[in-house]
Symmetry: C2
Subunit: 377 residues, 2 copies
């Protein structure tokens, strides 16, 4: 029963340089915002803040979509929100697979009882437009194409514009995971014909983890409305009641995570103050510098040239480097967090995140200096 | 496209006295914790904090259940986590209905494609033990009984101990919503034979909204494990991969909302420093005082005597009081938030929350004084 009620001491987080693919460092302005006094989820001022967040998210997603909001959960909740609202039992979905997060999209689509066909399937390799065209020809009734823009598990940047065009020609919904790209590299929801696009607060937006910005095109909303009362997996993530909460009715659906919204509001202000183009340039430049420096040190980029993310660098380890030992030393001796490989890549690659507030030349230098010391000894 | 990138000013929340049934006021110690610097969700120190949270939650839930953790979402995510892990398509569930949140449990059970039978059904009236015994006799294969302990929509306190006994005799899983009771009035997970119990961070625990503490008995875990790979609705809320993240494997499932965990850790320390028994007494006493004062002013308690929650008081409005006008005046002139009725009770009742940090004699006095002024004019 644990009835002795032992109270642990106050938790003091250690100082870390966060260079894994999320969470990234959080600006002190955002941390300060997180500590603001609580107000109610139906307070008129909360609604005003939420509407400002929606408007800023539209700017960041580059969309005019009315239904644009932060899901009350992490990026995986965003993924589940996207798929559960789009896919009905028996729907055909084409999953473009090139890493662990695409596999996760496939897994969740299967839980929606969709009929899922994999296109591509090789971790670290982009899915070519022609393969998608072929798959759409083979499955002309496909309801949705699912793609990961920035595959955090492999550092792969999947081109989207041509696939968006194919989806529009076919009337197929295009669902895109932009968890590790939004706010770091260009994401053009309207320009690329994306119907549902979701992200996470804790990557290039540099807000604490716990919210998943998402946007639905009018076509995607129409598909959800057409579905009506036919059952869908989730109530928590159902965009119909959520849009009634966001709208003028202010109808209670669930208690919005107010403190997280404070943080997102301030974080989006910082993103827009910097400007998206300047922010993209910063990520592109610093990412290229760090990759070049890692190549000099014997690390080999995992994805092919032309398809490498600047903000999540995935490199094969040089001969003789013990993944666990070296990463433990980086953390214990230098307070630097980077990530190892997921699934089949465990022990073989490192993943370095240079996202949002973590994407600075100072952070990059600290990492490279620490790697030099760890690999030398 | 909104490409002008208008950046709204910094958001300054207004000062509010939070006396709706959530969110409740947050202690400055918890607010300070929310602003701590970010660390990674797989950091050994994050795991240590999470294990301390699990241990404190076991104390608060009064359980020895190993699988006890905060769901990364609000109370409704906790509800969905409970039901999606317990109910498979075709399973029979008995839903004890006495208000809006019980209706929501039923709705989510239906989305799990369970066969749901309602017991009770009258808002504001407790479901008698005999009715549950009868329903269990009529549906001997029932997999689960679903009940709301503290029905936020009606202020009803549902007795649970006898129903827990019936469930144990039958081998039926007992799923309990303790969103508005945990940390405010007694909740005895092991003592009452509850198999799955979930709550919300923002009620009597007085932590910002965004986490849903939950606990699963070994019987409930066994039911999930027995289910194996048979599909379930949610991946995000699937306790099998979540327990692998919480365990020694530290296997990534989703990015834990680290700042929210900082807040919950500090909030649970405050709960245990006060002591559960002292905390229950505080809620019981102040709730009784406020209800008596409201009765003196012509408000009538909605649930029958003996079944009234002290921390969520639901009262019918006196003749001639306009719900919307009076609540707007409380908010605009006094900064006090209380809640109106949900669903069929809209315009007819007020709901006053006296939970956690909001449950003080000072807050109660401020509310009663403001009500006197509003009702007089």
């Amino acid at each position: 029963m644990g009835s002795d009620h032992t109270v642990p001491p106050r938790f003091e987080p250690p100082r870390r340089l966060l260079l894994a693919p999320g969470p990234s460092a959080v600006n002190p302005r955002v941390l300060e915002a997180m500590a603001r006094p609580m107000i109610g989820h139906l307070d008129p001022e909360t609604m005003r803040m939420l509407h400002e967040i929606q408007s800023m998210l539209r700017d960041v997603f580059r969309t005019g979509n009315e239904l644009t909001f932060p899901v009350s959960g992490t990026g995986t909740a965003g993924m589940e929100c996207a798929l559960t609202n789009v896919l009905e039992p028996g729907d055909v979905a084409l999953a473009l697979v090139s890493g662990a997060f695409a596999e996760r999209m496939k897994e969740i689509a299967l839980r929606c009882r969709a009929e899922v066909h994999v296109v591509g399937g090789q971790w670290g390799n982009p899915v070519p437009e022609e393969a998608v065209a072929d798959a759409l020809a083979t499955h002309p009734t496909a309801k949705a194409v699912l793609a990961v823009h920035a595959e955090t598990s492999t550092g792969l940047r999947q081109p989207l514009e041509g696939i968006g065009r194919l989806c529009r020609e076919r009337g197929t919904l295009f669902v895109v995971d932009a968890v590790a790209s939004l706010g770091g590299i260009p994401v053009e929801v309207d320009g690329w014909g994306i119907d549902v696009c979701y992200s996470g607060s804790q990557k290039c937006l540099s807000v604490p983890p716990g919210l998943a910005p998402i946007t639905f095109s009018p076509r995607a909303v129409a598909a959800r409305i057409e579905r009506g009362d036919r059952p869908m997996n989730s109530f928590y993530l159902d965009v119909l009641p959520i849009s009634r909460y966001l709208g003028t009715e202010r109808l209670y659906h669930h208690t919005a995570p107010v403190s997280m919204l404070y943080g997102l509001h301030e974080g989006l202000r910082i993103v827009l103050e910097e400007g998206l183009e300047a922010r993209w340039r910063r990520h592109e430049e610093i990412g290229a510098e760090v990759l070049a420096a890692l190549e000099e040190r014997g690390f080999e980029p995992f994805p092919p040239s032309g398809y490498r993310l600047p903000e999540v660098i995935c490199v094969r380890l040089p001969e003789g480097v013990d993944d666990r030992v070296a990463r433990k030393r980086l953390l214990d001796e230098f307070g630097i967090e980077i990530a190892g490989g997921l699934g089949e890549l465990a022990g073989k690659v490192w993943r370095v995140g240079l996202m949002g507030e973590s994407c600075t030349r100072d952070s990059a230098k600290a990492l490279l200096d620490a790697i030099d010391l760890v690999l030398a000894a």
